[in-house]
């Protein structure tokens, strides 16, 4: 019997309604079944790795007739443990999404707005590159590098080289909404930044907002269940009864933004009752040197004090602290958005949790937070050393220069960008390159669009016609991770080194190009000296990959490594005895912070916005398990699972405003309001409104996701750099949950 797996490619909408994205021209690509030679064509299996999140799960891809049929997990991969999430397995449907950008295009409508048709017309790559060259050259000559804004990550290395070669100062990324505070804290308290936790050997796990189960980050999910299988106790603090809370032993519906108080009180008990790991603390930390300051600092934070701020009973805090101190190995993981960027006190939370882990004595020890043992893959600058880069001078529109530690971490800030472009330095930015980010990610996207409008020229590279593309002068079609090549070293679960391949399992369709390709092409035109090898030839990405493979000891060529796909080096785990801080020790008290007049030890600070008469409820946002932030809402399979978001609230809160299940409600904050259906549940505190992130795309060219759901970010205040300074928010947290809201019914 035969089950056809071809019919899935016959997507409706490949013709018609394609006026703007030109999808009607490409029916053949989206209906390969019609042209496939025979049903019995050989099925090839290729190894690659997922590019959707930092889990980078190994993938086994089945390809037939050049068409990707199925992807599943790769057995033997320590990151994925052979599993894969809904986003990863559905990524095929993104490749074959008829809404995909296919050719470079330019706008014909001079009126830039999120709400009008840009009037795109197809152009050649040559025209696109020549226009970018002319514009960027003119801006550099007239106004210097400060006039260029790059909204993109600092990767791949080829693109970083391109930006360095131009002397780009204004590069911003999402990490102020994500992990930069944690990164800074780790750097000064224990060493290099890591998300790796040895859960399987932990016996006691404390989760402060850590909710990666609900994000289905596979690398953490299977380690978490392994911890439970091995008998670990898990205690979860979260205002929402999330999937992580369901899989924990104890759940405390903590008051939003008050986790810091519980952590401080636990430290108080550990010190008070001498329950910390004395051997580790004496030998590997600066505890002895600063014992007086440390004890004095935490003496004020009793469990009774914390109870009043957090709604967590003092007796429970005391018991949990004793369990944490005696039932180890214990660990309190911290990861990215979970808590590290959500509130004005998030830098303090990150520091307090770091202190907790150091007192547990599990830094780079079994059952604790550890430094991944990785294979170092050389970057382009070590393979082909560049000429000296120009100095980075000019005004930072995001104000990052006022936060030296954020500058040192080389992360720019989303939350202060619009204030910088509109108020502090209007007109400074003339040309913008934008890649891989959605406008929804920024607090107050409409205000960001206003800011973007002040630039003369904007280029967007993306897979889909995202909202930001509506503001662009030139739109460029990007490849997906399933069409690219790379070497991926395991980090988030790497007690022994492992490298997995990323390779094109299908060829890049239409005229889609990768960011690395674009770096070289723009580099040749704008900074040729930086894109030649020592023998004068242009840098080629394939030769570069061969060199990286060779220098990392993975094989003679990338092709050779490709045939292996996955390499693991069996090496025993030797715990660190020297830590990469200035003193070589874990630093509870951070002298460098004191020098900058920051608090050298974590101290209590409330979140920025508190419920008031006008806005009586806390806003909570979350990313649902089946969506990757803003980028998968147009995927047919994931869209069906969750096409839009709702205002999730407790029935008691709903009753106060006469809200019933499914009613349309208006949720307002001091900066904006959204209208969406209400969903009533007992899984959230009665003083919170919970809205999923990632929805509310306005681009009509996203024919599934456009116009569905609302942007949580419309409710989230953007920041000025002075706000951050006033909050002593030296880790630069974007405060994406630090908002309060009101609720009213608008439609039944």
């Amino acid at each position: 019997m035969a089950i056809t797996r071809r019919s899935w490619l016959r997507l409706t909408g490949a013709t018609g309604a394609g006026l703007m994205s030109g999808a009607d021209l490409f029916a053949d690509f989206f209906q390969p079944a019609a042209t496939a030679s025979s049903a019995a064509a050989e099925l090839k299996t290729l190894i690659t790795s997922c590019g959707l999140c930092d889990s980078t799960c190994g993938m086994r891809a089945s390809v037939q007739d050049g068409v990707l049929r199925f992807v599943e997990g790769l057995p033997g991969d320590q990151h994925s443990n052979g599993g894969i999430c809904a986003k990863g397995t559905s990524s095929i449907s993104t490749i074959y999404d008829p809404d995909r950008l296919k050719y470079p295009m330019k706008r014909t409508n001079p009126n830039k707005s999120l709400h009008s048709d840009p009037g795109w017309v197809r152009i050649t790559w040559e025209e696109a590159l020549a226009t970018m060259e002319a514009r960027f050259k003119a801006y550099l000559a007239q106004s210097g590098p400060e006039s260029l804004l790059f909204v993109t990550r600092n990767s791949p290395d080829l693109f970083a080289r391109f930006m360095n070669a131009l002397g780009v100062v204004n590069r911003v990324d999402h990490n102020d909404l994500c992990y930069v505070a944690d990164r800074i804290i780790q750097r000064y308290t224990m060493g290099p930044h890591t998300f790796a936790h040895d859960f399987e050997n932990s016996k006691y796990i404390l989760l402060f907002g850590w909710d990666l189960i609900a994000r289905s980050k596979v690398v953490f999910c299977h380690q978490f269940t392994a911890a439970r299988d091995n008998g670990a106790k898990v205690v979860c603090f979260n205002p929402q009864y999330s999937p992580t809370a369901r899989m924990s032993d104890e759940w405390y519906p903590i008051r939003p933004g008050s986790d810091l108080a519980v952590v401080l009180a636990i430290i108080h008990v550990l010190l008070d009752e001498e329950l910390y790991n004395r051997d580790f603390v004496r030998e590997f930390t600066n505890f002895t040197e600063f014992e007086q300051e440390i004890r004095a600092n935490f003496r004020q934070y009793s469990p009774e004090w914390a109870e009043k701020l957090t709604d967590v009973p003092a007796a429970d805090i005391r018991r949990i602290a004793r369990e944490f101190g005696t039932r180890g190995p214990s660990v309190a993981p911290l990861h990215k958005k979970t808590i590290g960027a959500n509130y004005a006190n998030s830098t303090q939370v990150a520091h307090a949790i770091s202190v907790l882990n150091i007192l547990a004595g599990t830094i780079d020890r079994p059952g604790g937070r550890y430094f991944p043992r990785t294979i170092s893959i050389p970057a382009v600058d070590s393979v082909y050393p560049p000429p000296k880069y120009p100095p980075k001078t000019g005004r930072r529109v995001d104000g990052r220069d006022k936060l030296p530690l954020v500058t040192e971490a080389n992360n720019g800030m989303f939350s202060t960008l619009s204030d910088g472009m509109l108020n502090r330095f209007p007109g400074v930015i003339k040309g913008i390159f934008w890649q891989g980010y959605s406008l929804n990610s920024f607090p107050r996207p409409e205000r960001v669009a206003q800011a973007l409008k002040t630039a003369e020229f904007m280029v967007v590279l993306d897979i889909l016609p995202v909202d930001a593309a509506l503001m662009a002068d030139i739109v460029l079609p990007s490849t997906t991770f399933l069409e690219g090549s790379d070497l991926i070293a395991r980090t988030n679960n790497a007690k022994s080194p492992q490298v997995v391949v990323r390779q094109p399992v299908v060829s890049a369709p239409f005229e889609t190009r990768s960011l690395g390709w674009l770096a070289i092409e723009l580099g040749k035109r704008l900074a040729p000296d930086y894109f030649r090898t020592s023998d004068g030839a242009w840098i080629s990405s394939s030769r570069l990959l061969d060199e990286k493979t060779k220098r990392a000891g993975l094989g003679e060529t990338f092709a050779e490594f490709r045939s292996k796909g996955l390499v693991t080096i069996d090496r025993p785990f030797v715990p660190a005895t020297k830590f990469s801080t200035a003193t070589g020790k874990c630093q509870l008290y951070v002298p460098e912070f004191a020098k900058l007049s920051y608090d050298p030890l974590p101290v209590w600070k409330p979140k920025r916005e508190q419920p008031s008469q006008s806005y009586p409820y806390y806003l909570l946002t979350y990313i649902p398990s089946m969506h990757r932030r803003n980028s998968t809402q147009n995927n047919p399979i994931l869209h069906r699972m969750m096409p839009e978001n709702s205002a999730v609230m407790h029935p008691a809160l709903a009753a106060q405003h006469g809200v019933r299940e499914g009613d349309k409600v208006r949720v307002s904050s001091r900066v904006g309001s959204v209208v969406l259906p209400a969903h009533l549940t007992h899984t959230v505190r009665p003083d919170c409104v919970l809205i999923a992130h990632g929805f509310g795309h306005v681009s009509p060219m996203l024919r599934r996701a456009g116009g569905k759901g609302v942007r949580d970010s419309d409710l989230i205040p953007d920041r000025t750099i002075d706000d951050l300074l006033a909050d002593s928010n030296f880790g630069g947290s974007g405060c994406i949950m630090d908002a309060v809201v009101s609720v009213e019914v608008v439609l039944r």
């Binding site: 599993g83 999430c85 397995t89 559905s90 999937p243 047919p636 399979i637 407790h650 959230v684």
Partner: protein
């Protein structure tokens, strides 16, 4: 030849919907087929609330009503117990779906034939697990010879009613123990 069955361990389920996505991706269609669904159930009142998640598809019942009632004998059981639709014979009358206690049968609007989970039979024939089981990040959803599966779990759990059709599904109930 042995029968096959499902084993579901609710405590391990992340509610990540990977099984559901893999099912859709494997079976294709436009809109993509959905023969497996992940559903959450809530009970109790805040703060003593509880949730439970189930991932369910056709249970390839040992005493299947769909096979019994099909007037054209389109609903067929393979030697290994996988129940599939013979598309050459199916007239799309939908009688099977009326008698299925699990809502596992769906009418494909374009072909006017019934469709259902066929346990990824081509994968099984090739020695692979069904797509949904293969992707599960925490082994919450398992699959195997029914003689083994039936030993390893209970025939009922909260929010699942065991019925006379003898569904080939078992549940691991309860939670983890601390050591």
């Amino acid at each position: 030849m042995t029968n096959y069955g499902w084993l579901f361990d609710a405590k391990r389920c992340l509610e990540c919907h990977a099984c559901e996505a893999a099912c859709s991706q494997w079976n294709g269609g436009s809109p993509p087929a959905q023969f497996r669904a992940v559903r959450g159930f809530e009970s109790g009142a805040f703060p003593n609330v509880r949730t439970q998640v189930l991932s369910l598809s056709c249970n390839h019942c040992l005493n299947a009503s769909c096979v019994k009632v099909c007037p054209t004998k389109a609903m067929t059981r393979r030697a290994d117990g996988i129940i599939h639709v013979n598309k050459d014979v199916c007239v799309g009358c939908g009688l099977c779906s009326r008698f299925c206690p699990f809502g596992a049968l769906k009418l494909d609007e374009s072909s006017r034939k019934m469709t259902k989970c066929e346990m990824c039979a081509p994968r099984v024939d090739g020695g692979l697990q069904p797509a949904c089981v293969s992707v599960c990040p925490t082994q919450a959803l398992q699959w195997g010879p029914w003689d083994e599966i039936r030993q390893n779990g209970s025939d009922r759990t909260e929010n699942f009613v065991h019925v006379w059709t003898s569904p080939a599904v078992r549940f691991i109930t309860g939670t983890w123990k601390q050591s």
